[in-house]
């Protein structure tokens, strides 16, 4: 079961490279949030009430509902164009995603030898998601897309922390939730403000400060 979910997660990354609409990337984020919720439930052997509430809050409420809603709201309010407008072609994007997968699985299989309790499929897909997030940030000019790249990267990190198993110290999950909650709230706030003072929310606009 968890294997299927992981593969779907991987497919969502591939889909992110070929889609042209901002709203479909938001949908990808929703799907990823739900997958993360189910994976967490499957991974944990005994769940007490509090832990369940915490996981549900973190994955479903924040990752799958609140943040996507915030992003869609920002897109609508600021009249951002609905296309992704990447600076590389879809073909190149898909090709590099394949390369990222190959690299991630290579690392996962190679490092799996030195640590037997790591599951290569899980590790590889988490690592690929982190790299994909970075790739989206590099290959796009829109600030809102940067934000989505950052979120995909965060999802990858969350998946990665699930690979550690149930003995994950509580500080880690606290850290993840703090990061997601606050940075997104403020980032969306900032995009709104930037929209007010700059003509377009595009990284090319942000060039008044340079040496």
């Amino acid at each position: 079961m968890s294997d299927i979910l992981l593969v779907v997660f991987g497919l969502s990354l591939l889909f992110a490279s070929i889609t042209n609409m901002l709203s479909s990337i938001v949908r990808i984020l929703i799907v990823q949030g739900l997958i993360l919720f189910m994976l967490t439930i499957l991974k944990t052997n005994e769940i007490n009430m509090w832990e369940f509430a915490f996981i549900a809050l973190e994955t479903i409420v924040f990752k799958a509902v609140l943040i996507p809603w915030f992003i869609l709201d920002t897109i609508q309010k600021n009249g951002i164009k609905r296309e992704v407008e990447p600076s590389v072609s879809n073909f190149f994007s898909l090709g590099s995603m394949t390369a990222i997968f190959a690299f991630a699985f290579f690392i996962a299989l190679w490092s799996g030898k030195s640590s037997p309790n790591l599951y290569p499929l899980h590790f590889g897909i988490a690592f690929a998601a982190i790299l994909k997030g970075l790739f989206i940030i590099i290959a796009n000019k829109k600030l809102i897309t940067h934000l989505m790249g950052y979120l995909i990267m965060e999802n990858g990190i969350f998946l990665f922390s699930l690979a550690l198993g149930s003995d994950m110290p509580h500080v880690v999950s606290l850290g993840v939730s703090l990061d997601i909650m606050l940075s997104i709230l403020i980032a969306v706030l900032f995009i709104n403000r930037i929209q007010n003072s700059f003509e377009d929310v595009d990284s090319d606009e942000l060039s008044t400060l340079k040496d």
Binding site: S111, L118, F160, L164, P169, G175, F190, F198, L209
Partner: protein, 453 residues
């Protein structure tokens, strides 16, 4: 428990500031908070007290806390009166963010758990991004966005490093530094190495090490003077602390050589980038920001060498923080007087306002390491250690870069202070007393370094 004490005052004062929205009260609250810091820091360094041991702190915790406490006090004093232009709502937000920012730094400085350090370093980013964009013009928004975004990515990578550190420990993973130090036989060197690299990149972004420094000159030059002083003097150190801890962990696991080499490369690269840009740019606040990058590079080289040079590194951390904070606060005065950020448009500071002029020159002399600056002693010891360890090539490069930076800074400092001016402007005592106090403290740093043994 300790975190509760750290956050108690900021939370209560924050509620008060938000409810009453009184400009004078806000400044007073920040000042009280800074005074509280100074008192606690002095209590920490009193000889033979049970206080530090009871809280489970070590020398590094106390040292970094002391630095931020002194700076915060100076900044609190400086901003007692300089914020009168703000609306009451703005000044409340400023006070709340400032207290939250410093409280997060305290959390990171006093924590002995890498996970918690990470959480607090992350929250410093959030609080200080608000402070940087405080003036709400185009440039400050741009600076704040870059800062928030680049540092968030960096910090996310540091988090991967922390997860990898958990994977590296084969039995009962923990993030407590003391515990990791004792179980070196249960750590897989392969994962520890990767974890170290991720943390170096992650926290290194926040320290402003080249080539991850792009946000730093923007953020430090666009923030208000008081915030720049804290960012450069205290926040960079706070992000440096986990790297020093990781270096210790690497040394215990016999991987010290690799870690030192990485530190050395990043350090030299930072000095090089700073030297190149300092020669080129005209904005004096950006120049100070690049000088911070340079000094962080020197500090990394010091810790890479270890032993006596490591001690010199700690001295350099404190010396640099105090001098740089004084420099940034004086830069605030210069900006108030001229209204310009390019050095070739400002001239005759000595004639216009002699005290600021002299402060500017003294800060310049101190930051390039002229005696009696503590940076002279620390840089001398680092050079000595480089010679001792046979790194002749690094030593030569180190001196060339230091000389280049001294030239670049000197050109700016002299261009601003010399020249004539027809008028004279008076500033209130609060706008130069903190700098004088900081410079005096800086001169005394080598004396209190005794405490480090």
């Amino acid at each position: 428990m300790i975190y509760l004490y750290i956050w108690l005052f900021p939370v209560l004062a924050g509620i008060l500031a938000w409810a009453l929205k009184n400009t004078k009260l806000n400044a007073l609250l920040v000042f009280l908070h800074s005074m509280l810091h100074l008192v606690v820091a002095l209590a920490f360094i009193l000889p033979d007290n049970a206080f530090v041991a009871a809280l489970g702190l070590d020398t590094l915790n106390v040292w970094f806390f002391l630095i931020s406490a002194i700076l915060y006090f100076a900044v609190g004093l400086y901003s007692l009166q300089s914020n009168t232009k703000l609306t009451t709502r703005q000044s409340s937000i400023y006070a709340i963010c400032m207290m939250a920012f410093v409280a997060s730094m305290d959390g990171a400085n006093l924590s002995r758990d890498l996970g918690l350090i990470w959480v607090f370093v992350e929250s410093t980013t959030l609080a200080s991004a608000m402070l940087i964009s405080f003036e709400h013009h185009k440039q400050s928004l741009e600076a704040a966005w870059k800062y928030l975004f680049i540092c968030s990515i960096g910090i996310a990578l540091a988090f991967v490093g922390i997860l990898l550190l958990l994977i590296a420990q084969t039995s009962t993973p923990s993030l407590m530094i003391d515990k990791i130090m004792t179980m070196s036989s249960h750590i897989s060197p392969f994962w520890l190495k990767i974890s170290f690299v991720f943390m170096l990149i992650g926290f290194g972004t926040k320290v402003g090490l080249a080539p991850l420094h792009f946000w730093l000159p923007d953020a430090h030059s666009e923030a208000p003077a008081a915030v720049s002083a804290l960012l450069s003097g205290a926040l960079l150190n706070t992000a440096l602390l986990p790297l020093i801890r990781m270096l210790g962990i690497m040394r215990v696991n016999n991987l010290g050589y690799l870690a030192s080499q990485l530190f050395m490369v990043m350090g030299l690269l930072s000095m090089f980038v700073a030297a190149v840009f300092i020669l080129k740019i005209k904005n004096y606040k950006r120049m100070l920001a690049y000088s911070s990058i340079e000094n962080m590079g020197i500090i990394l080289i010091a810790f890479a060498l270890g032993d006596l040079a490591g001690k010199a590194g700690l001295m350099h951390v404190m010396g640099h923080s105090l001098i740089k904070a004084a420099f940034f606060l004086t830069a605030g005065n210069v900006y108030n007087l001229f209204g310009q950020k390019d050095y070739d448009k400002c001239t005759g500071l000595l004639a216009l306002n002699p005290i600021s002029g002299w402060l500017w020159l003294l800060c310049f002399m101190a930051i390039i390491g002229m005696p009696p600056s503590p940076l002279f002693i620390s840089e001398f010891y680092i050079a000595f250690a480089l010679l001792g360890s046979g790194n002749i090539f690094v030593l030569v490069l180190y001196f060339i870069l230091l000389a280049t930076i001294a030239y670049g800074l000197g050109r700016t400092a002299l261009a601003i202070t010399m020249g004539t001016s027809d008028t004279k402007v008076k500033l209130s005592a609060r706008q130069y007393l903190p700098q004088i106090a900081l410079l005096l403290c800086a001169v005394m740093v080598p004396l209190i370094t005794q405490y480090l043994s």
